[in-house]
């Protein structure tokens, strides 16, 4: 199932004008706050009626302003996971979970209640009221409630934003599992590049109400026009082995990378996310430094920023690695496109490549 969205809407001084497709999998709407992400999701949910546009899941039309068609939210068959959970305070967890099932058409066999409860680990909470739950527990119940409504599309508006790091690490795997089970398309709003790197199969970058880029995360996150100065690179990696001194050896197209011990068998596919500010470039192969992770590649692009910095992108096999360095270093080193170059990684975040669990740990042995 593919979600197709085209809409334009004016709210005071803010103009939203966006068109994109979300293929099966998890599509992240990514952008700074105020870029219009939530407005897009609310338009898909029917909570905001755009001035004009068309929204459809395959050939099932939710909104078509040209045909004067706008389904009310209760007829859109969605599972919306809100940032604040929005659990019903007067109902028990069990009643909250069953709420959507109540209104779903009988023919729509949603997921099994027992299975969802088990997957989210909320069995012990069923008879409690939302007021007695912690933030992480509320998030899990909110996800369960959305799933059990037998939705044809799952929407999530920054579902992790109100949680601390530990709780985020606890909830992220559930979204990974939803994505990998591959049932319904998921439209997920986030402004955190770590979540994008870990979850997205497609990224739609929004800036000031317009689409800046659409594509796989490795491409969009490295594109300064799409995400501004906070670019990041996604490298594909495979676990090669566990070394005796507690490090895990990964193979990437640019060379080996070592991270703190990962509980993953050799051959496991991973994604590495490297913030552009965490990369140092060197013309010659650096000697006598503490950094272990030094990759080699060829410069494919140099994009100066407005300020004193520039973004330099290296090709490492099929992957791209972007470094953010000063323009002064750039001219002192005499870097140019096509030149070979070494990249020293100060910090690497690991995310699972396809499926399975992994923690988002910073692995930066020096």
């Amino acid at each position: 199932m593919t979600l197709r969205v085209r809409l334009s809407h004016r709210l005071g001084d803010f103009a939203l004008d966006a068109a994109f497709e979300a293929p099966p999998g998890l599509t992240v709407l990514y952008g700074p706050s105020g870029s219009g992400k939530t407005s897009v999701v609310n338009a898909v949910a029917g909570l905001l009626r755009p001035d004009s546009g068309r929204i459809a899941v395959d050939d099932w039309v939710l909104l078509d302003s040209a045909a004067r068609l706008c389904l009310p939210p209760h007829r859109r068959r969605l599972g919306y996971v809100f940032q604040e959970g929005r659990l019903f305070p007067h109902l028990s967890v069990r009643q909250n979970l069953r709420y959507g099932r109540w209104f779903a058409p009988r023919a729509a066999r949603g997921p099994d209640m027992a299975r969802v409860v088990e997957m989210l680990g909320i069995g012990p909470l069923l008879d409690r009221r939302p007021g007695a739950l912690s933030g992480g527990e509320k998030s899990r119940v909110a996800i369960g409630r959305a799933l059990l409504a037998a939705p044809r599309l799952i929407l999530a508006d920054e579902p992790l934003a109100a949680l601390d790091e530990a709780r985020k690490a606890e909830i992220l795997p559930y979204f990974e599992r939803l994505r990998d089970e591959g049932g319904v398309p998921i439209l997920y709003v986030s402004h955190a590049s770590a979540e994008v790197a870990r979850l997205a199969t497609t990224v739609v970058a929004l800036r000031a109400g317009r689409i800046a880029a659409v594509g796989p995360p490795s491409q969009v996150l490295g594109d300064p026009r799409a995400v501004g100065v906070e670019t990041a690179s996604i490298l594909s990696a495979r676990v090669a082995g566990q070394d005796a001194d507690g490090l895990t050896r990964l193979l990437t197209p640019g060379g080996p990378v070592f991270v703190a011990r990962l509980a993953a068998p050799p051959g496991t596919e991973l994604r590495l996310r490297i913030g552009s500010g965490n990369v140092i470039l060197s013309g010659a192969r650096p000697e006598g430094i503490s950094a272990l992770n030094i990759l080699t590649g060829r410069i494919t692009a140099i994009v100066p920023e407005d300020g004193p910095n520039a973004q330099v992108t290296l090709a490492l096999g099929p992957d791209r690695l972007t470094a953010r360095i000063t323009r002064r270093s750039l001219s002192q080193m005499g870097l140019a496109e096509g030149q070979g170059c070494h990249a020293i990684l100060k910090s690497v975040a690991v995310a699972p490549g396809d499926l399975g669990l992994a923690s988002d740990q910073p692995g930066h042995p020096r």
Binding site: L47, H74, H90, G100, R129, L155
Partner: protein, 236 residues
């Protein structure tokens, strides 16, 4: 206990107490659905004439009760436009009947009821209602399963406040339906009549005590029920 009470009160006074309770209960229950609807409209909807409706609802609070009673007499009396229509089509006569006392009490108590319920509705987070809609609930179901349970403490408080006001209503009632023992003589009218006649003080003071007891009971009951409902809603 009822026997002891009727023995202590005397038949005429007991009749007044019973009538007052009946008028209070019927006036409250009959106006509650409309009260919730009007409170919801004032809290959530925008429509032309909203301020006019708001003013109309609150008018009995500000007008002298005698004026309200007189307006009811003009409108709902046997020769009033609405009164004639009600009698012709439904055989309902309000003036100088206990049903008229119910109408007068309900109208006088309505602003208090609407105010309490409206405040409760305004305190409900509309985002919860949106969440219910995205889960497939049509607007009436959203109201029944989310809004109504959440405003229940306010509805109870408003209803009991309206009941207390209804059994104590005097000015509009006596103007509209007069002071007929057994028909329209509620506790306040009976106290008033007893105080006009020589030697009525003892009976009047018994009714005063009854009035105080009913008012206190209503107040405590509403506090208790509202607190219980609020605890349930808070979800601890």
């Amino acid at each position: 206990m009822i026997d002891a009470l009727t023995g202590w009160l005397g038949p005429a006074e007991w009749q007044a107490v019973r009538l007052s309770l009946r008028v209070g209960v019927v006036a409250t229950l009959a106006s509650l659905p409309l009260g919730i609807l009007v409170a919801y409209a004032l809290a959530r909807w925008t429509f032309p004439g909203k301020q006019l409706l708001n003013g109309l609802v609150h008018l009995p609070l500000i007008l002298p009760p005698v004026v309200t009673g007189y307006l009811l007499l003009i409108g709902f009396g046997r020769r009033g436009a609405v009164g004639q229509w009600l009698e012709a089509w439904f055989g309902i006569v309000l003036s100088f009947r206990w049903t008229g006392a119910v109408l007068a009490a309900a109208i006088m108590a309505f602003p208090l009821m609407v105010r309490a319920i409206r405040l409760a509705i305004e305190a409900v987070d509309p985002r919860l209602e949106q969440a219910a809609a995205t889960l497939g609930a049509r607007p009436p179901m959203v109201f029944l399963t989310v809004t109504l349970p959440l405003i229940l403490p306010g509805v109870i408080a408003g209803a009991i406040l309206a009941f207390a006001k209804a059994i104590g209503e005097f000015g509009a009632t006596i103007t509209f339906v007069s002071n007929i023992p057994g028909q329209t003589q509620t506790v306040p009218s009976a106290i008033y009549a007893l105080l006009q006649a020589p030697g009525g003080e003892a009976a009047a003071s018994r009714l005063v005590m009854i009035a105080i007891a009913i008012a206190m009971t209503a107040l405590l009951l509403s506090e208790h029920l509202a607190r219980r409902a609020a605890r349930r809603v808070a979800g601890a």
